[in-house]
Amino acid sequence: MFVRIPFAAIIGICFTLSFFLIALFAPLIAPYGYDEVVSNGFWEPATSEFLLGTDGIGRDLLSRMIYGLRTTIWIATLATILSFTTGSVLGFLAAVMGGWIDQALSRFVDLLMSIPSLIFALVILSITPITILILILVMGLLDATRVYRLARAVAVDINVMDYVEAAKLRGENRWWIIFREILPNALSPLVAEMGLRFIFAVLFISTLSFLGLGIQPPQADLGGIVKENAEGLTYGIGAALYPAITIAILAISVNLVADWILSRTTSLKGGRG
């Protein structure tokens, strides 16, 4: 199946995989706890004891970043899964049902999309308690609008194929048509999109935390660590750069994988194949 993986994709896969492994085994890997104050100094330079130095209140930066990565990936993954299940099921449903259901759903999604998602999220998060569950819900549902658009567009194309008509003539119900006829054929573009949406979720949660409306201290996440250490930049201390670079590398590596999946699916079997 995987005959020739392009070099860029291999790099992407390696990095993505290691990020996920680090996230999964964070408690085993991290030398200290995420909120453990291990030193009396602050913003200490890297030593053999603290590989990336310490942060503004003397916590080990590396440990904090490992836990931060775990939180970020965890939230982004759940939000992506949520957005994909709701977005694609509703999108397929709208395409298959047509008529007023399609109209109602599509116009509602248009309405949501007309408001910039960051502003929308900030409004909601400023009136609700900020818990991880709420964060996931808000991010997932906002992103679901984009997935809905894609899923509906793909499904509308597939829905007019003769094999779907054949299934309707056979008397199959709607769920068979959605899950057995349309879904397998819509999977490739959706999976590629999933990679991209995951990155957006990472960036989104990081942005929220940076603005102070995401993960609350002492919990760690990448965007939050940037915020905590941003002040150090004025004194020439680069602690904030490490989590920022990690976000960048994570985004790029997942992107490389998504790109590769997308090119595989479009070059083979004429597109949706």
Binding site: M1, V3, R4, M161, D162, Y163, E165, A166, K168, L169, R170, G171, E172, R180, E181, P184, N185, L268, K269, G273
Partner: protein, 545 residues
């Protein structure tokens, strides 16, 4: 003897293939073809899909479509080997000395520019004629090709003329710069039979009057017999037989050519109607939602158990709409359906599973009629499971039996549609329909996307299955030859009405009404001089003109 205009020697063409799970590698798709063509003569290239017809045609323009390379041999046009000349020379050759008429004029014309601008473009660009000379040439050509209002038709946009007219405009486009060679690549294949005949006649006349040499590519031997002086039969990139049209049609030497010439020789004696029809369409009038136009008007037809009703007509005559009405996809505005003595509810949603089972459908394009992500086993197995509740081993056994019935083996069970040939795909669709043990199968143009020999096989299979399973067919087609081969009764449709209806022998014997006469006479026959005979004797002009 003087040098012929075109001399092709040992032409070899290769392509790179990218099979899944393997490294890309090069294959040869044309294995050394030779031919000569003199000015004013027409060479027909014929063969089924994948035979290399178009590839060879384009090679005379020193052109290979994406991924195709001309790997060897010589193509001499007008005394020079165009495979060896520089790019600039080749550019002046294309469209100037050698021009090309493609299958789909609608896809080849630029929809944003007027026809005349596109017709004169090459002549002006190569400096062969001034703009005004080229325009008057174009008008002459329009007239020669029998287009209406030759003076002004060029000022229209491509969507403002009919398909047959556009195909003739394309011929004018090709002939305008006074080329020495024109490549016609299936110019009439996408047209209705009744339109095809006029385009064919126009092309033949234009070739004759301008004295160009032409290569005529088609898969229909009867068509090519009308226009060409010599015919080359190709198969899988090899030349099978090359001779004069006279010789190929009247005394073919190779087995493959003989099969092509005698295609559609299926004999099916007409059955007399039984007492109770399996399906009666009573006074069906139907229109599409939110339109006022009736696509079907007062259609009354009957299908008898184990027999075949063929519905013929050109595109837009309402054949497929009739199928949609019967299947319940489009409830009729007026009229009713009686199936096996029971009233059939008009819309799909209210029909019982049993009603749905009795009535199956086979589509024209087998590749899109099967879910590309399902295996053959799933595709055929689903109706077995859905209607009869068979599971596991029982279901598998039934699928194997069905595969056996369509003359395919058990090893196909785990294959995906993409791994099947066109004929095999259509067989799987037939098996899927049969799996429901229906009383009636609607066959919507099931053979029109297939090569003639493959189509023949499918028709034979359908007839055999009809005998074994006693299933009735509603056979929708535009191809009279198919109708002759398999029908018991025939309904000729024209503009949404049944023009002529009855037993096969009755419908196909004179006296005809004008439309049936036109339709029947437009079907190319495998004999020389047929085109001239028809044009002289017919009573009605086709609608596409």
């Amino acid at each position: 003897m003087t040098e012929p205009l075109v001399r092709v020697r040992d032409l070899r063409i290769g392509a790179t293939v990218y099979p899944p799970n393997e490294k890309p590698h090069d294959i040869e798709i044309v294995h050394g073809v030779d031919f000569d063509l003199e000015s004013g003569r027409v060479l027909g290239l014929i063969g089924e899909s994948g035979a290399g017809k178009s590839t060879i045609g384009l090679a005379t323009l020193a052109f290979g479509r994406g991924g195709i390379k001309i790997t060897g041999g010589e193509v001499w046009v007008n005394g020079r080997d165009i495979l060896q000349t520089s790019r600039t020379d080749v550019r002046s050759l294309r469209g100037g000395e050698v021009s090309y008429v493609s299958q789909s004029a609608a896809a080849s014309f630029n929809p944003a520019k007027k026809i005349l601008d596109q017709v004169v473009e090459a002549s002006v660009r190569y400096g062969k004629f001034s703009r005004s000379e080229a325009e008057s040439r174009a008008v002459d050509l329009f007239e020669q090709l029998g287009l209406p209002e030759p003076e002004t038709i060029g000022n229209r946009y491509p969507h403002q003329v009919s398909g047959g007219q556009l195909q003739r405009c394309m011929t004018a486009l090709a002939l305008c710069p006074q080329p020495q060679l024109v490549i016609f690549d299936e110019p009439t294949t996408a047209l209705d039979v009744t339109t095809q005949i006029d385009v064919l006649a126009a092309i033949k006349k234009a070739i004759h009057e301008t004295g160009v040499a032409a290569v005529y590519i088609t898969h229909d031997l009867a068509v090519v017999a009308q226009v060409s002086d010599a015919i080359m039969v190709l198969r899988l990139g090899d030349m099978v037989e090359y001779g004069t049209t006279q010789q190929i049609i009247n005394s073919p030497k190779q087995e493959y050519t003989k099969a092509l010439v005698s295609v559609r020789s299926i004999e099916h004696p007409e059955n007399t109607p039984t007492d109770e029809p399996i399906l009666r369409c009573i006074d069906i009038t139907a229109s599409y939602p939110r339109t006022k136009l009736d696509v079907l008007t007062d259609v009354n037809v009957e299908i008898h158990a184990g027999q075949t009703l063929a519905v013929v007509g050109e595109s837009g005559s309402g054949k497929s709409t009739l199928a949609r009405v019967i299947t319940g996809l489009l409830p009729p505005r007026i009229g009713r359906l009686v199936f096996d003595g029971q009233e059939l509810t008009p819309d799909l949603a209210s029909r019982s599973r049993e009603d749905l089972r009795q009535l199956q459908m086979i589509y024209q394009m087998a590749d899109v009629a099967m879910n590309p992500r399902h295996t053959v086993g799933t595709i055929i197995g689903r109706p077995v499971e859905f209607y009869f509740g068979l599971k596991g081993e029982e279901k598998r056994q039934r699928v194997i039996d069905l595969l056996d019935e369509i003359e395919m083996g058990i090893d196909f069970i785990d294959r995906y549609p993409a791994e099947l040939s066109g004929g095999q795909k259509q067989r799987v669709c037939i098996a899927r329909a049969l799996a429901a043990k229906p009383k009636l199968i609607i066959c919507d143009e099931v053979t029109s996307a297939l090569d003639p020999l493959v189509a023949d096989g499918i028709l034979r299979l359908l007839l055999d299955l009809q005998r074994i399973e006693n299933v009735a067919y509603l056979f929708i087609t535009h191809d009279i030859a198919t109708v002759r081969a398999i029908a018991d009764s025939i309904a000729v449709m024209y503009q949404g009405r049944v023009q002529r209806y009855g037993g096969k022998s009755k419908v196909l014997s004179p006296p005809y009404d004008d439309y049936t006469d036109l339709l029947l006479s437009s079907v190319p026959e495998m004999r020389l001089g047929w085109l001239e005979d028809v044009l002289e004797n017919r009573q009605m002009e086709s609608a596409g003109n």
